[in-house]
C-alpha cells in the first residue's frame, strides 16, 4: 500500500536525531518499523517526517556490568537479544523475544520500539515492569532515568516527550522470572499476558488488561491469584475475549508466570 507522503531523514548521530525530532512538529522516530510502517499504511499514524534510528551505533548493543546489570541499547533487535551471550544473564529476555511474531519481525523489531509503541498487547512492557527495568530517556537537554512503572503512561503513550528518545534500558541481575500468555495462534498477538519476577516476594505485571501494565505484588506464587483479584481489574472486552474472561486469564497467567519464576 502506498503510504501518505512523508519526509525521511537518516541522522548520523543521536544528537542530530534529537535536533530533527525537536525542530519538526510532525516528526517521529522510526525504529524497527514492524509496527509503525503498518499503522502508517492504515493511516492510524501519519507522521510528516520519519527520523530513521537504524544505523545509530550509540543506540545498539548489550553490556553486562560486574554487578550483573544488563544495559541494552534501545535499537537492539529481538533476534540480537535472543542470540546475545550477555543477555543470557537474564534468560527471560531472550525467551520472551523468541515468542514475538516471527523470524522476519524479530530480525527488525527492537526492544525500544516495542516499549515506546506501548501497545497494551505488547510483550515487553509488562516484562520490563516485572523485572524492575530502568529506562534512560534523552533529549537535547540531557538525559533522565525513569523506572519502568512510571515509563508507560497510556495506550501508545510513554514518558518519552517531544524531541526525546528512549536510548537504553537497564535491567538488574536476576534469573527467577516467568512469562505466560494466551495468544492469537502460537506466538501471535497477546490476548492476555503476565510477567513475573521473584526476589523475596513476587512482582507480577499484567498486560492487555489496562492502558499500561498493572503491577501486582504478593508474598509467593500461591498468593498471586488473590492479589490479582484484589487489583479490581476492569479490562476491555473485544472480539477475542470478554472483560470477565480477561480477568480470569489474568489470575491464571499471573499464577503460571509466578510459579515458573519461583521454580528457577
Amino acid at each position: 500500500m502506498l503510504l501518505r507522503e512523508v519526509e525521511y531523514a537518516k541522522p548520523g548521530s543521536v544528537a542530530e536525531a534529537f535536533e530533527l525530532l525537536a525542530s519538526n512538529d510532525g516528526a517521529r522516530a522510526l525504529a524497527g518499523g514492524q509496527t509503525l510502517i503498518n499503522v502508517m499504511k492504515a493511516r492510524a499514524a501519519s507522521p510528516d517526517m520519519l527520523v530513521d534510528l537504524n544505523g545509530l551505533e550509540e543506540l545498539r548493543g548489550i553490556e553486562l556490568a560486574g554487578d550483573g546489570t544488563l544495559t541494552i541499547g534501545a535499537m537492539t533487535t529481538y533476534s540480537e537479544l535472543m542470540s546475545s551471550a550477555e543477555a543470557k544473564a537474564r534468560p527471560i529476555l531472550g525467551e520472551v523475544c523468541a515468542t514475538i511474531a516471527d523470524v522476519q519481525v524479530r530480525n527488525r523489531g527492537t526492544i525500544g520500539g516495542n516499549l515506546c509503541s506501548n501497545d497494551p498487547t505488547n510483550h515487553l512492557p509488562p516484562l520490563m515492569v516485572a523485572v524492575g527495568a530502568r529506562m534512560t530517556i534523552a533529549g537535547a537537554g540531557g538525559e533522565r532515568e525513569v523506572p519502568a512503572e512510571e515509563f508507560f503512561l497510556g495506550v501508545y503513550l510513554t514518558a518519552v516527550g517531544p524531541g526525546e528518545l528512549l536510548t537504553r534500558i537497564a535491567i538488574p541481575a536476576g534469573k527467577k522470572d516467568g512469562f505466560a500468555a494466551v495468544t492469537l495462534g502460537a506466538e501471535g498477538t497477546c490476548i492476555c499476558n503476565a510477567a513475573a519476577s521473584v526476589n523475596g516476594g513476587v512482582r507480577v505485571a499484567l498486560g492487555c488488561v489496562d492502558a499500561v501494565p498493572v503491577l501486582v505484588t504478593a508474598d509467593g506464587p500461591e498468593a498471586v491469584a488473590d492479589a490479582v483479584r484484589g487489583a479490581n481489574l476492569m479490562p476491555p472486552s473485544d472480539v477475542h475475549a470478554s472483560s470477565e474472561y480477561r480477568i480470569h486469564l489474568s489470575e491464571v497467567l499471573a499464577t503460571r508466570a509466578a510459579e515458573e519464576a519461583a521454580a528457577r
Binding site: I37, L50, V103
Partner: protein
C-alpha cells in the same frame, strides 16, 4: 531520494519517494516480480527477502532504508535453469500448489539453512512461522526443507 541497491549481484540506482516500500521498489521499479505482495500487513511473508544477510519482510521497510544494501530475492537463487537443492526439493515434494507463498517460503528456508544446515523439525516450523500458505497445509513444505537438511 537517490537509492542505490544491489539485488542478486546487480547494482541499481533509482530516484524514489521516501514513502515507497522496498517491495514496490523491487517489483515496480526493478521489475523483479518474484517477491510477492500477499497481505501487505506484515503477516504473510510472501514479500520476504534477504537484506544484508538478514531475512526481512520487504513490505515493512522503506526502499530508502535499503540504500547501500545488498538484497537477495527468489530470482537470485537458481543459476540460470539450474535450481538450488531447496528449489528442487520443493518440486519433488510437491511443496507448492498455487505457488503464491513459494518465493517467501524459499527465502525463509534459505536463510534458515544458511544459519543452521541441520535444523530439527521444530526449528524448521519455527523458521517458517512468518510465512503463510493457504494451499499445502505446510506438510510438504516441511518435508522439502527436511530433505535438504544435512
Amino acid at each position: 531520494m537517490d537509492v542505490t541497491v544491489t539485488v542478486n549481484g546487480t547494482t541499481y540506482e533509482r530516484d524514489v519517494e521516501p514513502r515507497k516500500l522496498l517491495i514496490h521498489l523491487l517489483r515496480d521499479d526493478l521489475d523483479l516480480t518474484g517477491s510477492h505482495i500477499g497481505c501487505d500487513t506484515g503477516n504473510c511473508g510472501a514479500c520476504s527477502v534477504i537484506l544484508d544477510g538478514t531475512l526481512v519482510k520487504s513490505c515493512m521497510l522503506l526502499a530508502v532504508q535499503a540504500n547501500g544494501a545488498s538484497i537477495e530475492t527468489v530470482e537470485g537463487l537458481s543459476e540460470g535453469e539450474e535450481l538450488t537443492a531447496l528449489q528442487q526439493a520443493f518440486n519433488e515434494h510437491h511443496a507448492l500448489q498455487c505457488g503464491y507463498c513459494t518465493p517467501g517460503m524459499l527465502m525463509s528456508a534459505t536463510a534458515l539453512l544458511r544459519e543452521n544446515p541441520s535444523p530439527s523439525e521444530d526449528e524448521i516450523k519455527k523458521a517458517l512461522q512468518g510465512n503463510i500458505c493457504r494451499c499445502t497445509g505446510y506438510w510438504n513444505i516441511f518435508e522439502a526443507v527436511k530433505s535438504v537438511a544435512k
